[in-house]
Amino acid sequence: MSGLTRRGFLAAAGRVGALVLAGSGARPRLAAAADDPVLAGRPLVRYPEKTDLILLTSRPPQLETPMRYFDRAITPNDAFFVRYHVFPVPTRVDLASWRLKVHGRVDRPLELSMDDLRTKFPAVRVVAVNQCSGNSRGRFAPRVLGGQWGDGAMGNAEWVGARMRDVLAMAGVRQGAVQVTFDGLDKPAFPTVPDFVKSLDVARIVEDPDVIVAYQMNGQPLPMLNGFPARLIVPGWYATYWVKNLSEIEVLDSVFEKFWMKPGYRIPDTPCGCVEPGTAPVRTVPINRMTVRSFIATPEPDAQVGAGRPVTVKGIAFDGGSGIAEVQLSSDGGSTWRRVPLGTDLGRYSFREWSATWTPPGPGRHRLMVRAFNAIGESQGAQPLWNPPGYLRNVVEHIDVQAS
């Protein structure tokens, strides 16, 4: 067939069909994982600049990436998860009027245009994982309240932008400055709802050349729902600090403790960030560095495979910035583990691809487990850790497949 291929035609026809069905109130398309207790019943939806993602909430929008996208190191922009806290979220930005305001305890308050950001500071590139603090919260036992994410509130991208410390240097941070706050264009409709504002220590920014204000994501302008025109990148730390649609930066001479810093987004002040399941922590601190995690993206759970026939097993591993040193796979319930080959190293903040070949020894159900170790020897627990807000999950993951 020349010109329009059969496959292309079917895809196009399917798309038209889907639009018609959507318009006639047909049953919603569901996230594929019918057996997954967290994702079961959740619809697949298509948002602007996005492909089909798993709906968590409509307003404010929260969308989850299907696991199959984690068979590669870089998450496509259109598959990247979305998480907002307050509504309305920005739906229109004109760079002719957009400015990044820098003020507070500084010598020279700034109002930077996108041209300023691009031309007045060196452009820095960092590949880094952006993972929601509550990723996998739906899997906590005992269950906890909050966004009931599966495992898809994460993604990895190449970010390009200006160093936050260069921006602060231009403004001239005054003696006695303690923290810097970051605010975006998402503003609650009601003044009683706490605006989403996050803070970092001045030292966290000044000491880390990889904390940037990114205006490019995988070679493109950011999708609106991932923070167009610019967002903060805090490599190694949870996404709660990566403020989207960034518009205002303020330098403070005190610790900022409004709602989304306190009591929001805090973990138990214990070495594991965890407490006995069902109990409350004595003291808390703001969530920070990510725990070590690894996932199997393919085959998918409950896949049918051939006994005695090799299967390619693929996925990713990441941590809070030490870098992944080793990934191991077990096919006997965790009794024995073997080291699997890693993909290209894109930097210590990035997803690290891994892949292995596994041959089901015989028919029946088989469990595949994966665990990772980082460069400082941290790994994942055989038992899940627990805390009341449902953060830091990093238990050893597994899938079951059926061989025949």
């Binding site: 939806v45 602007p48 600049e49 509504f87 002719a96 309240l145 009601f190 302008p221």
Partner: protein
Amino acid sequence: MKPLAARVVIAGLLAGLAVGPASAQEKQITLPPDHDYARLLAGPGREVTQTQCQFCHSTDYIVMQPAGDAKQWEAVVTKMIKVFGAPLGEADAKTIADYLARTYGRPR
């Protein structure tokens, strides 16, 4: 430059496109309405719960939560009032907490 970009956005909207031009100058999107999956289950108090809660957020925030006892749902309603400033009177707050405990209070 700007007038041209603006015209392209308007043309895109007229054509039913959800995304503005990829031009670096301006971006505009249109969000879909709340999904049907957020619709609350039938029961006494459903109407006031649906109306009051969706004033600020889609009710999939409720639908997705783990089943909880009356104490859990009462605490959620109290948090919405005290932390997020939901303008709920005492009677409505009780109706909503009761509805949630009754409807989303058991394994479903």
